[in-house]
Symmetry: C2
Subunit: 428 residues, 2 copies
Amino acid sequence: MTSSALLTDHYELTMLSAALRDGTADRHCVFEVFARRLPTGRRYGVVAGTARLVELIKAFRFGPEEIEFLLGRGIVDAATAEWLGKYEFRGDVDGYAEGDLFFPGSPILTVSGTFAECVVLETLILSVLNHDSAIAAAAARMVTAARGRPVIEMGSRRTHEESAVAAARAAYLAGFAFTSNLEAGRRYGIPTTGTAAHAFTLLHDSETAAFASQVSTLGKQTTLLVDTYDIAQGIRNAIAVAGPDLRAVRIDSGDLSVLASESRALLDSLGATDTQIVVSGDLDEYAIAALAAEPVDAYGAGTAVVIGSGAPTAGLVYKLVEVDGRPVVKRSEHKGTVGGRKTAVRRHKPTGTATEEVVVSLGAPEAQPHDRALQRPFLRAGAPAEDLPTLADSREHLRQCLISIPWEGLKLSAGDPAVPVIMTGGSA
Amino acid sequence: MTSSALLTDHYELTMLSAALRDGTADRHCVFEVFARRLPTGRRYGVVAGTARLVELIKAFRFGPEEIEFLLGRGIVDAATAEWLGKYEFRGDVDGYAEGDLFFPGSPILTVSGTFAECVVLETLILSVLNHDSAIAAAAARMVTAARGRPVIEMGSRRTHEESAVAAARAAYLAGFAFTSNLEAGRRYGIPTTGTAAHAFTLLHDSETAAFASQVSTLGKQTTLLVDTYDIAQGIRNAIAVAGPDLRAVRIDSGDLSVLASESRALLDSLGATDTQIVVSGDLDEYAIAALAAEPVDAYGAGTAVVIGSGAPTAGLVYKLVEVDGRPVVKRSEHKGTVGGRKTAVRRHKPTGTATEEVVVSLGAPEAQPHDRALQRPFLRAGAPAEDLPTLADSREHLRQCLISIPWEGLKLSAGDPAVPVIMTGGSA
């Protein structure tokens, strides 16, 4: 991995320069990542990106090229450049597990160490968590709306080429079954899928010729795209070419609820009773939910998932809350913001349903049965914790978390956070 | 640059496999990139990302690692793997200059070559152009709203860490004066800026100590952030520490219109009549416009610019329009979509004001005085054209284009495209 060290805002290095010079750079600091609020109407957030972040923090080193740039531009002085040349994060990072839920005020990441070593990570930490958490939250709602039917992520073309890879990862974490993105397949082991676009049909002299070619190369366990010309004729052509053992047809345009029913009836009449129907085309969680009663077997979601379905960033901030053991807080903050390092537990009924999240500053919450401590170590003195969860672990963790919230929390309609956050203790 | 070859959707390679096997892979194809519509209410789009794209196309090679992944997953067969190993784009790419405007149906990029060599670039082309164009369009509106006052891009933390670099570039292209993103400074030569966050003040024993440290390190030509505690006291502390020659103060919270006026009056009363006022905090084009009458000297824009101010993707598609000289079109397309390679000119009054954009399929538009041909070569037989514009050129080009559109086109309110597109000729 190339250096991530310049994925950083200019002001972090000017603050560093000044702090190195005035002697405050070594003060022990605690920074916390949290959201002041969820996107309007959302009932939960989803923590995502932590494993990517741990890798990027390890790669956060200033090599000769980075130093040369910073000195050449006059962004840092020689003393700061020397310090950066030796930089390696040696502090601690704790936080909510990837795939856990969060609510307004949840301390999802806690970074502690010297001011100098923590302040330079601000932009990188927020970029990763804001992006990936936004995608995961939208994707989780789509998975809920799909009610067990598989959802395929196919939005790479609608977002930055590297965001696309991270978005595929976040969507898979949230329960998507596949991605179209090959780099996500390579980098994270996510199952990839895809068959053909309209261009493939248009390339050929006829739709039948295109289908015959596809089946010849990919076999009958493929999905034929039937809406290039006329959908009913497309389905007849598909079954004529592949026979009733064709795995699936895909419809990418039109009124999908009507088309799904008509297509199902037509496929059945052709004896293709096991041929599945995949639908795609501007699907978001609401469009998916609206198809719940239709004979759809899988959904392809593109644009909406990679742009967070209206909330493309998670609103997470990185705030200094403690200096040398002293809580600090910006005076103009909302009243709910308290200084000091926080500890968090989620309380549950004996049945397992979450009832509230308790966030305590400067201390630990009084223990109750069915509490779950929400923070775990990611880095200790700069070294990754030994038991970091895999992507599959995080995917399962989110699935369990979504089972645990009150059922209102899974509604797609606008509402309050599914679990109230109780902030206690602390000072300001 | 590492390989960009897997920033690709799975189906492009399955289509390739089938086309290689059935003999259609070498058919000469023309693909076009266009938007069916602008984001709701927007009056123009801005082409951005082309120079990035040219670099990524050059890096689009399948090395042993990429081939191994594809074969291991069974995504391609041995014959396709061999073809990919030798792949290098040898076709032509033409398009609208970076920084030009576009409207619904404008053929902003035309890719021609064999089906095989063109189809594999679909995702990469769309990812780059959809992202960068979305950011540039939003940023251009903010620059218009700022009426000549400088705007600083500081949104890196709200988007994916690599999107952030591309977003800084797109915002600069659109007329932003600076970015906070250091990698954008290194990669594209964009001026970077930044001074301090609230954390720097909180780190110190007092606001005055923080300001003294900053001024000691960065000099009086710095910007002091004055809203950590009390803004009026912060301004007094700033001038007490730096004297009336302080370059600027920054306010990042509160009702900026009231605060700007009060701060200006206070600074003037302290003799700091040349000290500038920089405002930031959830500014979009509307919030910037609302501050036009206030004594603000510069704006910092973050979240809104990197998420396209409500339109985070530009809605561009990549469609096959011609096969071996024969126009092709998907039957279910809107009536406005026509097959065949397009040529485009923008018509102007003698005064230079654009009146319409003429898009002709299968031929060239009848020449009129004050026409400007919109397409230019980017790649010829795979090689970059010699006179590719610099980022500074593209920035100036957009500035000129925005001067050329009817004045209604610069309004922030929702409206029709500023320049109508006339589609003529062609067949379907």
